[in-house]
Each structure stands twice: as structure tokens, then as C-alpha cells.
């Protein structure tokens, strides 16, 4: 070990370059692994995660969701699925917390009593629900998450002391019996859990499709067996209850995969970053391989002496290998602090509004598993970078190397080409990364520009959900809405305001299928759907939605008048391509009632969601005629948001002091939050691209430096033969230049191919953007050229006499 260390330290520059390459390559991969672990590998902290499965529902092939099993089906299936050792359920709920602080609305769940045992969700204090606590009348107990406990009862310092406290949920007191770890929130990132009140008719509710059902595979049972079992059992149910179950099917999927969102955009971004960091490690390895190759070429004499003293070729190869491994381990030691710093940086950069949907984000760190991965990567990188140099070391000619003033003037062609190839590979990978980073940055820019015309910084928002217990019927909700509008009208400094169910650019939206009067109702899979906005008349002015024909919704459109609606141009063109839309009646298919509403106006298209490539067809219904429970306020103002947002909240409290509010932001904040993930990905890609650029530059610099040093005698001889500076420059750089050019050409091709592959991730980017981004290849060529020129310049300054005496 000491000898290897001494050997490495004998070329300090080479050692520093190799350590830098390994530290960045291994460090970036360790950091990325930690993030993947939080997002994909272990997305939620449940003891039995690997064996948990969740029921996913389909209706005539259309995905219906996870909250879609009826209580009666659950009861029947539980008795039939032998592959599952336990089965439980949850129902989602939005709980209003009052007392002990500001009213607050949180995601909550009503769960089966076995929920925590079934999933292995860890409690930090108190107990889980007990069998029998699903019985009606025994459900006024709750388990809350650690974060919520500390936020609501923070003064009591410890989570254990929260157990036994009362928490007021939807106006009813519940005793907290347990505190759940923040990282075990399931389903729907719930922060409050109460026992599901299992009424006597639970086992007979066949059509209330609302339960989120989770099962735990029996030890040794496979997912496919369980799936087959469930398929057969559910087919029997469908035959038994054709009226409600025809066309329905249930599928079992791994809970882990479902949470990690294997097919989601975020997961795709993480995979993209994983590839990118993998590329950085490859560049680092190519770099170190070249450095190692240079070192062994320079040590030909040492190897010859060892060989003359009896060392066999494999011993010498072992020496090279052990040095590479040591180098990789040292590199990873330097890389670990870099990884820790990178992870902390990323944790700080993602706003809490986003990471609240990533249960493991607060726990994100370079943990033991990540360190294990680092160690594995180091060994792998050590072997990868030692393989070719070690092989080459076994092939050196001892007699030739030992001969006085050895006549050989440069390393073999194969080594020269190998070094060049490594340069080409580095350039190619670096260019792909830089193009990827550029496309991500451009994509993010396009998304921000798309909403710039709204002046989102001038629109304040707020959202609330009227509790079912307090506002059970439409007249009560209508009354609340009226009073709220009066309060908002009295706000100083507001220009326009409106009410809407879902905030544009917010975290959710409602897409509903609809029927057209006079046309046969389509099958579920063929039904047209539209963005379902329920708005007050002021919404159009507040959100600057332009009228194209007909009229806008008016204050005269009330509960007593005929239902009316407004559609956008896309809706009119899609649904009524050859006939006027005005005057036609349509009906959102929300429930069995068919509330037909007449189209009275057509407005301009409007983007409502930054993640959609183009505006979605939108239907605007009159709030006074629908009275939803979900209400959002949008206010356009010139006043600063710091004064407007508190005023909005006060307007709500003036109507109902116990009504919690959420999403108190400017629309610019909402846009920033919506695009925070993409911004972070763009930033990380850019950082990785720059690291790749740096490593490639160091790689070229070290290779050309080495070429100059190795060929000093040859340079001297060529100068003595009459070679000009230009000839020498060409001599030391032509191969590197060739490989650099080849690498760039391949990188452009690969970058283009990857851009096509990932075009689903980076929309808003056209082929023209790709071409302009291809100009990064110029940047890379410039940096590469400079990295090559600096050491090559040394060759130009050599005196032939010095050069020829070099060896």
C-alpha cells in the first residue's frame, strides 16, 4: 500500500487529475443514487414495501385509478385471495383542522384498523389502531404524522407528549393515539389517519367504488400468481353483478412501483439524471485510463527492471491494477464530501410545496447504502481504468526498455489510438450531456415564457374546501360564495377578481367526460373530455380570457335560471366542427344526474397547466348554478402580494373564521413551484454538463501534455529535420484533433437521437433549438482546442538540443 501510494505521489499532477476525475464521477453518482433511493428505490418508509401490492381499476380498458374498490367487493375478495396474507383499505379525505392555531386543511385518510400493521408503517409514539376500532362509534381516534404533531402541538416539544391530546377534525374532537413517521405517509401523502367507520351494511355496498386497497403478498407468492387469482375472482364478481361490474377489471401492481411512478414524468427525469451521472463516471474513467496508460508508458524501464529481477507479467499487471484501485478508493473518499454537499444543495433548492409529495425527501442523505454503492463504483471504476493499462504492461519488451538510450521514440500506435479513442469518447459523452442540459434549460424557458403574457406576478390566489359537515348542501355553499364575493369586492387595490373551482397553474385540475344533447352517449373509452372549470362572472376579466362570440357568464345566471356554460374555441372546433356551438346543450358526466347546460359563449383558448403541451378544451360553468365545495380565488392587482395575500385570507375569515385556506400564493409562485422540479433537473443537467466539460478538458490537457513529454525527443529530431512550429503543433495534436472531431460528430448524432427519445420530457423545444444547441459543440471544440493548445505550446518552445537530450 505504501509503495503504491509513493508511486502515485511521484506524479502529483497526474494524481491530482485522476483524483479530481474520480471524485466528481463517483461523487455525482453517489449523490444521484441517494436521490434515486428517495424517489424510486425506496420511495416510502414501509416495513413491508417490497411485498405490498395495490389494486388498480379499469373500466372497459380505461384506467380508473386506485381509489376504486367497493366495500362489498373488498369483503368478498378478502376471503378468496390465497396469495395475499393480509388485505386492508383506505379512503381519502380532506380534513379541516380547527382549534390550536390557524384552521388548516390537510390530506387525510380513513383506514382499516389493520392499516399500520399491514403496511409496516413505523410509529414514533403511541399505538396503531386496534381490531374493532372500525366499529361505528369507536372511530374518534387519530394517528397523525410527526411533522403535523410538531406543527400543531409544537409547544409540547416531544412527539410522545402529543399522544392523548385532542385534535379537532371537521368540527369533531379526536384523540391522538399514535404518531407516524413523516416518511410513511400513505395513501395520498396523508397527515391524519382515522379508523374507517365500518357501518353494518359495509359488506353490501357494491357500487360505492372508493376504497384504496392494499394487500401483502404471502412469503413465496409471486405477483403474477396473485394477479391471476384476483383476475379470476373479480371475473366471478362481474358475472354475479353485471349491472355495476360489466366492463370493470382489477389489476394488482407493486405498491413500490406505483408510488415511484415508474411511468411518471418525475421518474423519467430521475432516470435521465441517472444516465447523465453515469456518463460523467464514464468520462472520468476514460480520463483516468488515459492517465494510467501514460504512467505505465513512462514506467516501461521500471517494469523492465522488475521483469529482469523475476517478476512475471501478471505480477506487474497486478501492480498496475492495485494502484488503479487505490486511486479509485482515494477518489471516492474525496467524492463523498462532494456528494454530501450536492445532496444538501439539492434538498435546499426544491421548495417544500414540491417535496411534500416526496415522502422520503426530508430523509434524503448520503446513507450507508449510498456509501456501499460508492465503494462498489470505486472498485468497478478501478478495474475499468486498470484493465487496458494492466494488459499493456504485460506486453512491454524488457530488453528494449533496458537498452541504454533506448532507440524507441514514441509509444506504440495501438496505445496512441487507444488514447485518442478515449478522448473521442469523452468528447462525445460531454457533448451529449451539454446538449441534454441545453434542451432542458430551453424547455424550462419556453414553459415560463408561455405564461408570461398573463403577468402571473400580478395575480394572487387562494384555495379552500368547504367541509361537507358544515356546508352539506348547495344553498349553504351558495351563501358562502355570495358573502365571499362581497368581501372580495371590498378589497382595496384590486383590479379584477373571480372565483373558480381549480386554480389555473395549481396542483390539480378536473377533467370530465361530457355528453352532447342529440348525440348517442359514447363508450367510456371514446368519450370526449374537457377541463371542467366552474367560475364566477368576474373570472374572465381576472384571468384575461377574451370573448370570441356569444356572451360571457353573468351575475344573472343563477340557481333559478336555465343552466348555461361557455366553451373555448378548441372545444367548439373539436366537438362542433361543422355546426355552430352556440345554443347547443352539453352535460358533464359526473354522476347519474344529467345537468344539461346551454352554450352561450365562446372564448379564446387558455393554457391552464404548464405540463400540457397545448391548451386543453375547456368548459366554463356558472358557479352560482353549481356551487362546488372546492373554491379558489383569483385576484388581479397592482398592489404588492405581501399586502394582497393576507387581505385575501382575511376576506375568507370574515365570512367563516374557522374555514382553512391553502395555496396562498401569487400565480408566479405557483408557476415557479410547478416548474421547480424541471428547473432543478435543468440545473443538475447543466452542472453535470459542466463537470463533463471540465473533465474532458482535463483529459485532453493531460493526454496532450503526455504526448508532448513522451515525444520530446521525436519533436527535437523533427525540428532538426526542418519541421516548422506548425508541423510540430500538427504532430502533437492531429490525432487528438481527429478524435475530438469524431467525438463531437458522434456526440451530435447521439444528442439528436437522445433528444428524439426524450422529446416527451422536453417539450416546447423544436428541432431549430436543437440546431442552435448544437452550437455548444463549438464551445466544446473551443475548450478542447484550448486544452490541447496549452500543452502543445510547450512543444513549440522546445529547443531541439534540449529535446534531443531529453532521454
Amino acid at each position: 500500500m505504501t509503495k503504491q501510494l509513493r508511486s502515485l505521489a511521484s506524479s502529483p499532477l497526474s494524481l491530482a487529475a485522476a483524483l479530481l476525475a474520480f471524485a466528481l464521477g463517483i461523487g455525482a453518482n453517489t449523490a444521484m443514487y441517494s436521490i434515486c433511493s428517495a424517489l424510486l428505490f425506496r420511495p416510502v418508509e414501509l416495513g413491508h414495501l417490497e411485498r405490498l401490492v395495490v389494486f388498480e381499476s379499469f373500466l372497459r380498458g380505461d384506467h380508473q385509478g386506485l381509489f376504486d374498490v367497493s366495500p362489498a367487493d373488498f369483503t368478498d375478495l378478502r376471503g378468496q385471495l390465497q396469495s395475499l396474507e393480509d388485505l386492508g383499505f383506505a379512503e381519502e379525505w380532506s380534513a379541516t383542522i380547527t382549534r390550536d392555531g390557524e384552521p388548516e386543511q390537510v390530506s387525510a385518510a380513513r383506514v382499516s384498523a389493520n392499516w399500520f400493521g399491514l403496511t409496516g408503517a413505523p410509529l414514533v409514539a403511541g399505538r396503531a389502531f386496534l381490531p374493532g376500532e372500525n366499529a361505528p362509534g369507536r372511530t374518534r381516534i387519530a394517528v397523525v404524522t410527526e411533522g403535523l404533531a410538531l406543527r400543531r402541538f409544537g409547544a409540547q416539544k416531544t412527539t410522545a407528549s402529543v399522544v392523548g391530546q385532542q385534535i379537532r377534525l371537521d368540527g369533531e374532537d379526536h384523540m391522538i393515539v399514535g404518531v407516524l413517521r413523516e416518511t410513511a405517509r400513505l395513501p395520498n401523502f396523508a397527515r391524519v389517519y382515522v379508523p374507517y367507520s365500518q357501518a353494518a351494511d359495509f359488506a353490501h355496498q357494491r357500487t360505492a367504488f372508493e376504497l384504496y386497497t392494499v394487500g401483502r403478498l404471502r412469503g413465496g407468492a409471486s405477483l403474477s400468481t396473485a394477479q391471476a387469482e384476483l383476475g379470476a375472482a373479480f371475473r366471478r364478481l362481474a358475472e354475479q353483478f353485471p349491472a355495476s361490474h360489466q366492463g370493470r377489471s382489477l389489476v394488482l401492481v407493486s405498491l413500490k412501483e406505483r408510488i415511484a411512478g415508474t411511468n411518471d414524468l418525475a421518474a423519467s427525469y430521475v432516470r435521465l439524471l441517472l444516465f447523465a451521472t453515469g456518463f460523467v463516471l464514464l468520462i472520468a474513467c476514460a480520463n483516468v485510463t488515459n492517465l494510467q496508460l501514460a504512467r505505465i508508458t513512462g514506467r516501461a524501464r521500471e517494469f523492465a527492471i522488475r521483469s529482469a529481477l523475476g517478476a512475471n507479467p501478471w505480477r506487474i499487471a497486478g501492480l498496475v491494477l492495485s494502484e488503479s484501485l487505490l486511486l479509485a478508493l482515494l477518489g471516492s473518499l474525496v467524492g463523498i464530501p462532494f456528494a454530501m454537499w450536492a445532496v444538501e444543495g439539492m434538498k435546499r433548492m426544491l421548495p417544500s410545496e414540491i417535496w411534500q409529495y416526496i415522502p422520503m425527501w426530508p430523509e434524503l442523505s448520503v446513507n450507508w447504502t449510498a456509501l456501499g454503492v460508492t465503494l462498489g463504483l470505486s472498485v468497478l471504476a478501478g478495474f475499468a481504468t486498470a484493465f487496458w493499462p494492466a494488459w499493456q504492461s504485460t506486453r512491454s519488451d524488457a530488453q528494449e526498455s533496458l537498452r541504454e538510450g533506448g532507440r524507441s521514440m514514441s509509444s506504440s500506435r495501438s496505445r496512441q489510438w487507444f488514447r485518442g479513442a478515449m478522448i473521442g469518447v469523452q468528447m462525445m459523452l460531454a457533448l451529449v450531456l451539454l446538449i441534454g442540459a441545453g434542451l432542458m434549460v430551453r424547455g424550462t424557458q419556453v414553459l415560463f415564457e408561455r405564461f408570461a403574457a398573463w403577468q402571473p406576478e400580478k395575480v394572487g390566489t387562494l384555495q379552500l374546501v368547504l367541509p361537507r359537515t358544515k356546508y352539506p348542501d348547495p344553498p349553504l355553499r351558495g351563501n358562502f360564495i355570495r358573502k365571499l364575493e362581497e368581501q372580495l369586492a371590498a378589497l382595496p387595490a384590486r383590479q379584477d377578481f373571480g372565483l373558480v373551482n381549480f386554480i389555473p397553474l395549481g396542483d390539480s385540475m378536473s377533467i370530465v367526460p361530457f355528453a352532447v344533447e342529440g348525440r348517442p352517449e359514447a363508450r367510456a373509452a371514446e368519450q370526449l373530455a374537457a377541463n371542467n372549470l366552474i367560475v364566477s362572472p368576474g373570472y374572465f376579466a381576472a384571468m384575461q380570457v377574451q370573448l370570441r362570440s356569444g356572451r360571457l357568464l353573468a351575475s344573472t345566471d343563477g340557481a333559478e335560471t336555465d343552466p348555461v356554460c361557455v366553451v373555448d374555441e378548441r372545444f367548439a372546433a373539436d366537438v362542433f366542427p361543422n355546426e355552430p356551438a352556440l345554443g347547443r346543450r352539453i352535460s358533464p358526466l359526473l354522476d347519474d344526474s344529467r345537468p344539461w347546460c346551454r352554450i352561450v359563449g365562446i372564448v379564446a383558448n387558455k393554457d391552464h397547466n404548464p405540463w400540457e403541451r397545448s391548451s386543453r378544451r375547456t368548459l366554463y360553468r356558472a358557479m352560482a348554478q353549481v356551487q362546488p365545495r372546492l373554491l379558489s380565488v383569483v385576484v388581479r392587482t397592482d398592489a404588492p402580494m405581501e399586502t394582497m395575500l393576507p387581505a385575501l385570507k382575511q376576506a375568507v375569515y370574515a365570512v367563516d373564521p374557522e374555514q382553512p385556506v391553502r395555496m396562498l400564493y401569487s400565480q408566479q409562485d405557483l408557476l415557479d413551484q410547478a416548474l421547480a422540479g424541471m428547473k432543478l433537473v435543468a440545473l443538475m443537467m447543466s452542472v453535470l454538463g459542466l463537470i463533463a466539460l471540465l473533465l474532458s478538458a482535463v483529459g485532453i490537457f493531460s493526454v496532450v501534455s503526455y504526448v508532448v513529454s513522451e515525444r520530446t525527443s521525436e519533436i527535437g529530431m523533427r525540428m532538426a529535420m526542418g519541421a516548422s512550429e506548425w508541423d510540430i503543433l500538427r504532430l502533437v495534436s492531429h490525432q487528438t484533433l481527429l478524435m475530438l472531431g469524431l467525438g463531437l460528430a458522434l456526440g451530435l448524432g447521439l444528442g439528436f437521437a437522445l433528444a428524439q427519445l426524450f422529446r416527451g420530457l422536453i417539450w416546447g423545444v423544436s428541432s431549430r433549438d436543437f440546431l442552435s444547441l448544437a452550437s455548444v459543440s463549438l464551445l466544446l471544440a473551443l475548450v478542447g482546442g484550448l486544452a490541447m493548445y496549452l500543452p502543445a505550446r510547450r512543444a513549440l518552445r522546445l529547443d531541439p538540443m534540449q529535446a534531443l537530450r531529453h532521454d
Binding site: 532507440r407 521514440m409 500506435r413 525527443s713 529535420m721 516548422s724 508541423d727 529547443d799 531541439p800 538540443m801
Partner: protein
Amino acid sequence: MIDLRNVEKYYQHGPAKSFVLRRVNVEIKEGEFVSIMGPSGAGKSTLLYVIGMHDTDWTGEYYLMGQAIHKLGRKERNELYKANFGFVFQSYHLLDNLTVAENIEMPLTYRNIKKSEREAIVADILDRFQIVGKKDLFPNQLSGGQQQLVGVARAMVANPKVILADEPTGNLHSSQGKEIMEMFKRLNDQGTTIIQVTHSEANAAYGNRVIEIRDGWIEGAS
């Protein structure tokens, strides 16, 4: 042809100067065969490299066929060098990955000569040096003497007026050395000026003048 006046070369070691050449005055006429001799470290090779314009870090005056070399820039010196000099090294310095013919051709590639012309010149020189049969061999397939013969052929290929040779037989055994010296003698007889650095009295005997150098000083000319 070559006129060095008061040429000095030294290395600065802190405040002290360590001289390699001291007040060197040398004149070499066209067609001479001059041997520079002296003990190791005396400055023989340095003087050769100064004459060959490969060493630029010296003071004094140097005239080559009347042209003041000491006033020229690197580029102009290089052009003059290419037009007038050929160089032979003690350890041959042939490129392992080039054939004999390619090694010989190399200086021509630095002189803007067309490929077809270069091939003709190389063919001619291979014939002159009687190594046509070896033209496709690589240096490591040749003996030391044969390699140095190729080195001399390479030095002659651009038809220089002067050949500078730094201990050309230093790595050869006596019969091979003799062969090379006879080659130099023939070239000199055909009009090429030869300047060689040598330790060998026998080799010096092929020339018509010896420049003795000791601790950087020219001792005298015989």
C-alpha cells in the same frame, strides 16, 4: 561559410553564471570536414547545436554565408536551416512506426515538396546509399550500422550544403563506424561540408580540421 564571433552561452544559477561556451570564434569554409573534439561536458554538442541554429539562447555574432543569423527570428532561422543543413544523431532517432523509406522522406515533407517528387528523391537516395532492398523494413529490423546509414541518408535527402553529426558512430561497433565515416568522406568529396562531434581520433582523421574545445573555450585549431 560559417563565421562565429565571440559566441558565449551560459546558464544562470542564481547570481552565478555557469558558462558552456566562452568567447568562441570559429570560421568554417565551404567543403571543409571539421571535427569538434574535447572531453565530455566541454561544450562540443552545444557548439554543434549553435551552428545548427537549434540552440537560440546565446550571445555573440553568427554569420552563415554572410547572413547575420543572430539578427534573425526563429522562423527565418528555420528556413535557412532547412535550406542548408542536415543532421545526424548519435542514437539515430529513427521513428519506429515508419519504414526506412518513410523515415528518409520525412525531412522532405517539411519542405513543401510534392509527393511524386519526394518519392523520386527518396528512390534516388536509397539507390545512392545502396539500401533499396531495405526500404520497406522498419528500424527495429535493421542493425545499428544500417540504422545510422538510414540516419545519414535522411540527413542528405534534402540536399544540404552542411551535415552536422553529433557523435555519429558513438553507438556503433568499429566496422559499422568505419562504414559511416567513409560515407561522410565520400559526401565531403562531393562538396558537402561536414561538421562532426567525436571522441574518436580515428574518426577525426577522416576530416581535414579539428576544433578542440575544453570547458567552453576553443583551445586552438590544427
